[in-house]
């Protein structure tokens, strides 16, 4: 309760919480969009999504350590992860596409454990972070601060999202991806090489995760076992926003970020995650009731 009074006494804090939430949410939304793409096109829930993000982070970390400036390292991480994921598709994923959901969850879960342990064995369990070399912006006599790197992450996530939308609408391969998502059999009959489409989709998701991972390494920290939180959050965002709905993904990503920050501030950080998951349950139940009403109306 004391925290609520604090918010009304110093309304500028609301601005800080909103900004933090939205900027954080953008990166989550990016990762979630990749997950939605794979889910929609390949009917595959990628439990290793968070680990792909981490791998991207590690690529940026090592590039920076080798002397590269951090920001140009992000597209390279995206490219590297696209290749890694394409290879993963050719070795593992193609075997589980079009199998039932349980198989894909189990297989990608195995993949996530494998990646965690590989990172741990190769690079150790140290917490890593990349210094972006950027400062902070101040408003309202220093009461509101925005780290420039978060702003960069936000803009980067936005640009990448826009690029993706353009690609899916205008590019031939993007159109093939959308066709496959709508109806795999029909697409195949019309001559779409769905195997190639799957490989491309998985590689695009890899690129998205790679870029997001680079941004995460600059904004927060990475270590071999922190992937799960990204997987869980993207899953949540996708569940709320639905598949193939970029605007929805961005809105629910930002909403999740803001909800987390407010819950952390008002209830204390220990209830932050619990609150967000409770909110998910409420949203799902609410939506179910709403759909039931619509069904009744149709009858």
């Amino acid at each position: 309760m004391g925290n609520l009074t604090l918010l009304s006494d110093a309304p500028v804090l609301n601005l800080q919480l909103l900004l933090d939430g939205i900027l954080v949410g953008a990166v989550f939304a990016l990762v979630a969009y990749g997950m939605a793409l794979v889910w929609g096109v390949m009917k595959l829930i990628n439990v290793a999504q968070g680990e792909f993000v981490l791998l991207g982070g590690y690529v940026v970390f090592f590039l920076v350590r080798a002397g590269m400036p951090p920001l140009p390292a992000v597209p390279i991480a995206a490219a590297v992860m696209a290749i890694v994921c394409w290879a993963l598709y050719r070795v593992v994923i193609f075997r589980i596409v079009e199998k039932d959901l349980f198989t894909s969850i189990l297989a990608t879960f195995g993949l996530s454990i494998l990646i965690q342990q590989l990172i741990n064995q190769l690079y150790g369990s140290d917490v890593r972070t990349v210094e972006s070399g950027l400062g902070s912006l101040f408003f309202a006599h220093g009461m509101v601060t925005v780290a420039e790197v978060k702003l960069v992450a936000f803009v980067g996530a936005g640009l990448l999202g826009a690029l993706l939308v353009w690609f899916l609408r205008q590019h031939r391969l993007g159109q093939a991806i959308r066709a496959t998502a709508q109806n795999t059999r029909a697409a195949r009959i019309l001559g779409v090489d769905t195997d190639r489409v799957y490989a491309a989709t998985f590689a695009i998701n890899g690129a998205i995760c790679g870029a997001a991972g680079g941004l995460v390494a600059m904004t927060w920290t990475i270590h071999p076992y922190s992937g799960l939180s990204y997987t869980v959050r993207s899953f949540m965002i996708v569940v709320v926003a639905g598949l193939g709905n970029l605007a929805g993904v961005i809105a629910s990503g930002a909403g999740l970020g803001v909800a987390e920050n407010y819950a952390g501030f008002l209830l204390g950080a220990e209830y932050q995650t619990a609150f967000v998951f409770s909110l998910l349950v409420v949203i799902l139940v609410g939506r179910n009731l709403w759909l039931m009403r619509q069904r009744k109306y149709l009858k």
Binding site: L6, L13, L17, N120, S136, T145, T221, S226, N261, A269
Partner: protein, 411 residues
Amino acid sequence: MKLDVAVIAGIAVLSVGLACPAAAAADEDTIVLGAAVSLTGKYSIDGQNTRDGYDLAVRRVNEQGGVKVGGKSRKLKIVYYDDESTLARSAQLVERLINQDGVQFVLGPYSSGITKAIAPVTEKYRIPMIEANGADRALFANGYRYLFAVLNTSDSYLRPAINLAAEATHTAGGDPKSLKVGTVIENDDFCHDVRDGVVEEARKWGMHLVVDDKLPPELNDMSSALTKVKALKPDVLVVCGHAKGAVLAVRQVSEKRVDVPALALTQCDSAQIIEKFAKAAEFALCASQWDRTLSYSDRWFESAENYARIFEKEFHNPINYVSAESSAAVLVFVDAIERARSLDRDEVRDAIARTDLMTFFGPIQFDATGKNVAKSMVLYQVQNGKYKVVAPNKWANSTVIYPAPTWDQRP
């Protein structure tokens, strides 16, 4: 068919080989200690540091003639297993060390959680365990007779930070009662203990607790807690969250320009905050079990500084306190076995309980619950890109800068 038989025979031979790494247990000239440490999994780095510490002490003791029991010198040897950083596995492995490998004495694993998992096992078999990496106070509240710890318990980690702030305020003519304290900790046993110690100490001075946030372990962001800190302005901000927490705290406090007169952290050295952040880490206070500059000495390693030098030469890694405390655990066994003049585990257990030993790691004396009550924690402050000892006074090589300059005043 023949091939099958050969394969089965091969597997059988291999598995027998793997199952009996401790054939030396029967050797009369060696004393075999057992240890299940985390060589893979999330504690692999600190698990390896633990192992390095054990190995270095064993090597040193053996080079200097071994352990003298009943007029005869015996060499030390350690049988290791990898507990994969998991609780269940560690308990199984210790059971195996005792039952199959026949070890008489056990060295502790890494982390409080795993120590908690194996203490009931060593207790059941009445095997003395000296541990160096489980600092949780709860470990010593179960009435275990065979568990001993050479390190300070976690509640004592950041008590000195509160005292420093109180004393500095007092010296400057202020009232320590007016100070406010904030804690942002990871929601686990170790950090709860650190927080409880801080809160107890703050109460003694009559300070107020204004922020008390507990972050879930998977959380990667403490923005909302720091927004609260910014609004409520505690004088001492305590952050506990292992290496990840220290890294996050330094990054986000500097990014958000949160002005706190004292920022107190745990595990700064394993988080390498100076290497990672340079200037942003300035003035942070850090708790440590040990430092190479302390003037402790013993007959095995001579001085703390000498220990650090030998370690760095041997492992080509910078010295860390996890290895130092692990080495100390081995030394306590050596001292106790020599005093007991026997390898009987109950006699050794009693000798351990009566330990009054000075080591390069610090003085060691156990209370009735098995924790070391002779040593005190060290508090560093980052000054000009170096860790300087600022408390306790006896070993301080620099005076604390309190309050730390605000972000506007920093160059």
